[in-house]
Amino acid sequence: MEPQEPRGAAAAHLTSEELSECAFSPETAPAGLLEHAQGCPKCAAELADLRALLTELVALPEPAVPESVVVRIDAAVERAWQEADAEQEREKQRDRAGATSTARPGRWSWRKLAVPLASLSLIAIAGIGIGVAVSHSGSNAISSAGSASSGVSAQNIPRSSQELTDPTLVAWVRSSLASGQPKNSPMVAQGDCAPTSAPKRSGYTALTASHREFENQAATLIVYQNVQEPASPTVYAVVYAGSCPSSASVVLAQGSVSR
């Protein structure tokens, strides 16, 4: 907050903020301020100036976007698509090469993973009308009005989830599964956190949780199993930021993995 001018004695004039409030938001301005302005020639004049200003500001025409700017923006978007295509191609090649390599991919490719997954979650919404995967801060990601989300903290997992192919992440998932935590057990978080449950995912149950450094920060991997298909060889892995995962945690990566 920036400091306000003091207004002490009865004869004091309105501050710039008070004048502004009277001119631009008279419905919320304290009645005493408006009364003062009516009886004070100086404040009344300033109020009139501000009201005239408001009229002029609102009436400022929306400038036309120059054609050169439109062309430039379109070209930039086209280049962005080309870069996305090229990157996707590079990812495919890396995935193929990665099948026989244990090299950890750069942090860049982890970040990119979130976008196609989010996109798939949207396709899932459009196709079968279920909710969406939430990727950040516990807020709903883009979802259709008809989403079945109940508004509770449970988040949905896209039906057509993308398979995780990065060998490091796949290995983490399998190692976590191999640790043999009993199904539906509370997931005890590390560090200073109190014991807590894994973030809920609608229709899924958490199988395991494990903690690791990921993208130079503490992270927690939760492996989920579809409740309807307990015998499915596919599980769903979500890497949450932090050691105390909750439905509000940022999702660093997610996708399906074959056991």
Binding site: E21, F24, P63, V65, P66, S68, S119, S135
Partner: protein, 215 residues
Amino acid sequence: MREAARDEAGDLECLRRHLAGDREAFGELLARHRGRMWAVALRTAGNPEDAADALQDAALSAFKAAGSFRQDSAVGTWLYRITVNACLDRLRRQAARPTVHYPDPESGVWRQATEDPTDMAEQRELRMVLEQALAQLPVDQRAAVVLVDVQGLPVDEAAAVLGVPAGTIKSRCARGRAKLATALRDLRNPAPDSDVSVQIDHPATPDENRKRGAR
């Protein structure tokens, strides 16, 4: 309200198609908001060149961030936020430069960008003075006034766009408005021996004074 809801649904549909790989969808989304994004960029950056750069930055940022868009704000507000931030980033980078240029009312591109051909000459001059005064406000006041008073965003929404408390927005608007009102008052009632141009927070260059004096 229904229209706003329809617009929002259309925006979300564009985003959904974009994320599903539809090559046309992002362009359609930009086309829906381009006018307002340009108006905000032009007035926040203070000149068409930086506004164009900032708008390109904003378009690319939105392209990359589309997957993480959250519905805690309208798509339009999200685009405003990206646009304003792109402008502020550019202005911050410029602040490190030894010279700062202000919009030149004599420049063809500025005139073209801000002129309404249907205006009367007097109205045109008033708007030019107002645009110039706006461009000379400190950037935090300018961004607040542009969003709230020119674009008509509620204070809370402008606060979300700029990432500051609503009270700060009110305070910045009040200070900015006071300076703009002074500029308009001076235009209407010029003092015989004073510069009729706008009040600014820091000394104008001789070149700026010369331009103002010439008008």
